[in-house]
Amino acid sequence: MSSPGRERIVFMAEISYRDAIREALVEEMDRDENVLLLGEDIGIYEGTFRITQGMLKKYGAKRVIDTPIAEAGMAGTAAGMAMLGLKPVVEMMTFNFAFVAADQILNHIAKIRYFSGGQVDMPVVIRGPQGAGMQLSAQHSQSFESFYGHFPGLIVAAPSNASDAKGMLKSAIRGKDPVIFLENAALYGLKSEVPDDVNHLVPFGKSVVVREGSDVTIVSYSRMLHLSLAAAATLSADEGIEAEVIDLRTLRPLDMDPVFESVRKTHRAVVVQEQWKPFGAAAEIAASITETVFDELDAPVVRVTGEDVPMPYARNLELLAVPHEEQVIEAVKRVLYRN
């Protein structure tokens, strides 16, 4: 998979998505003493997903704060810290728990800069895993990009690989705005090359073409990008169909220009998301394509999404509920009128 800026960087290291996130935190904490971490069991327990392993020992309890189980408290206190010049990074053990903090995030963090007339910055990073696939059933398997993406004032990132995870998290911490940083637990172990550079910064609002192709455009992000790439490989091998695959990387701001450019070339588009279909990110992207490059389309834009049900526990049912490669292949064939 291509990484932006790869040409510029000489040294690369192959690390996991998890370690990339951890390295970003460590490097930014070393760089700026105003950076601090809040979360449930991130200190002594070292984090449910071990992102904060060794951090308490290294930085002390003043900078690595084990909070009570209190998501509204975590998010709201982080906002207060940010208003006073600190750079808090909040770990949501999973984003499913952040509903408890919805008012703090959506009604406070996202809006305070605006209703103060720009008198304060709000550099709060809220990060943690989301997504399905680990048999965690209904309350622990959701995706939230369209939920947060709906609200002005937030930046919503959903990296698909280690390089972007590290570079975007560093951008988030160095910035002045609230960032909802949506990781995917299923990607934590995924290794890829990351520039060995403390100033490796990936900007928000820059979608990238990760696979070139001329027959169809597949738009995705986070874990579903890998599904899309697998489908593209299969389509190429089995059908001779060359799909162009685009990684959005951030949902807000949403950089649609590379998508439009691709559609002008392929005239067909499929959007893949893990979350439910109604009012999802794919709907926004599909609508945006039809609004802007309608005349270029040779077929309606097709969405591949999770099924419209609360996530079941049983493994077989869970697998039926999430998108899989065959559905992407089928969608591509549909826009190409090949089925």
Partner: protein, 379 residues
């Protein structure tokens, strides 16, 4: 000036009526609290009562009242939109506590926030212009009455979601200590804010962080007896509100919110203590709001006209004036001059707000995120 007992009796008569109507309990502790407070106030009585700053405090309170009366008038004329929540009757709580702060200390408030801005030193013109939605307003006309911000004067916001800002103040207090300052964060909230989830999360974290000296916060309960139209007796299982602070390891005391001397005495002591220890403290100020909850609360079915009139005898401004006349030789002429000056300031603020321009259309997209409006969502 009335005795502590007389003060208590007014409060108890309200409670007695509410008890009759709703069959709930009354705050039996209040009489004792007021009696104790009288002892403390007595110390202040002759020592500091005539200090020149009390003139300033009275002036501020008179200014707040005039400002609020004007804002209600301007709301009725249609010059102020949205919601309007005025502080009339509660002035003592900001005048008595915020004047005890240093210039570096910071304040968070609910949506009934005009008085906080005025006492902290915000320009009444910019404040009124904000209510009018003008570009010269404190927040360029983008926040309005409920979201007053004046960071230069230490005001970190008025907030419109009941109880939503307590976490912010707790985190801000942590930040003040994290950066090795001795600054203090003050957080005002009403009795109605104490029954919502984030109240619990914020106060528990404040108490926890206080144990490490990392939460120099003063929590002020503006207990005006009503959460909008629902009385304390009807909204809180335990009517002794500050007693709940014990659950969070935060020391607390009740103060007569209509007695600015008492408030200032307590504030001087506890602000010093918070500054020294980094541990939070809570003042429950027992007060009364003379106007409706908001400008639309005209009928006020939850209380009687008699109840309101009864409490107007305990107007904090009247109490302060009387005290200063008796003890400091303040004259009616002094008071009259003070009122005229305040009226002139408010009239000037209304004129300024009226004549100011509306925000430019480009302002719509500014301040959504940092940088220019170009960063906005596109697709």
């Amino acid at each position: 000036m009335r005795t502590g007992l007389a003060r208590a009796s007014v409060k108890l008569s309200r409670n007695a009526r509410v008890m009759k109507e709703h069959g709930s309990g009354m705050d039996l502790e209040l009489g004792t609290v007021m009696a104790k407070q009288k002892e403390r106030t007595a110390v202040l009585e002759n020592a500091e009562v005539c200090a020149p700053e009390w003139n300033d405090i009275l002036e501020k309170m008179v200014l707040i009242r005039k400002f609020e009366e004007a804002s209600e008038r301007e709301f009725r004329k249609g010059n102020i939109g949205g919601y309007l929540h005025v502080y009339s009757g509660q002035e003592g709580i900001v005048a008595g506590i915020l004047t005890a702060l240093g210039s570096e200390d910071i304040v968070f408030a609910g949506y009934r926030d005009h008085a906080h801005a005025l006492v902290l030193g915000s320009d009444p013109k910019a404040l009124m212009a904000e209510l009018f939605g003008k570009r010269t307003g404190l927040s360029k006309g983008k926040g309005g009455s409920m979201h007053l911000f004046d960071v230069a004067h230490g005001l970190y916001g008025g907030y419109g979601i009941v109880g939503g800002h307590l976490t912010l103040a707790t985190g801000a207090a942590y930040a003040l200590r994290y950066r090795n300052t001795d600054r203090v964060a003050v957080c005002y909230f009403g009795d109605g804010a104490m029954n919502i989830g984030p109240f619990h999360e914020a106060l528990n974290m404040a108490g926890l962080w206080g144990k490490q000296g990392m939460c120099p916060a003063l929590f002020v309960i503006e207990n005006n007896g009503y959460a909008m139209g629902t009385s304390v007796e009807r909204h809180s299982a335990l009517t002794d509100l500050s007693a709940r602070m014990r659950a969070y390891n935060i020391p607390a005391e009740k103060v007569d919110g209509q007695d600015v001397f008492a408030l200032r005495g307590v504030a001087d002591r506890v602000v010093r203590q918070i500054r020294e220890t980094g541990h939070p403290y809570c003042i429950e100020a027992i007060t009364y709001r003379f106007s409706g909850h908001g400008a639309a609360d005209i009928l006020q079915p939850y209380r009687t006209k008699e109840e309101v009139e009864e409490h107007k005898h305990r107007d904090p401004i009247l109490i302060l004036k009387k005290r200063m006349k008796e003890v400091c030789g303040l004259t009616d002429d002094d008071i009259s001059r003070m009122e005229k000056e305040a009226a002139a300031v408010v009239a000037g603020a209304v004129k300024f707000a009226t004549e100011s321009e509306e925000p430019a259309p480009e302002e719509l997209f500014r301040d959504v995120v940092s940088g220019s409006g170009e960063d906005r969502f596109h697709g």
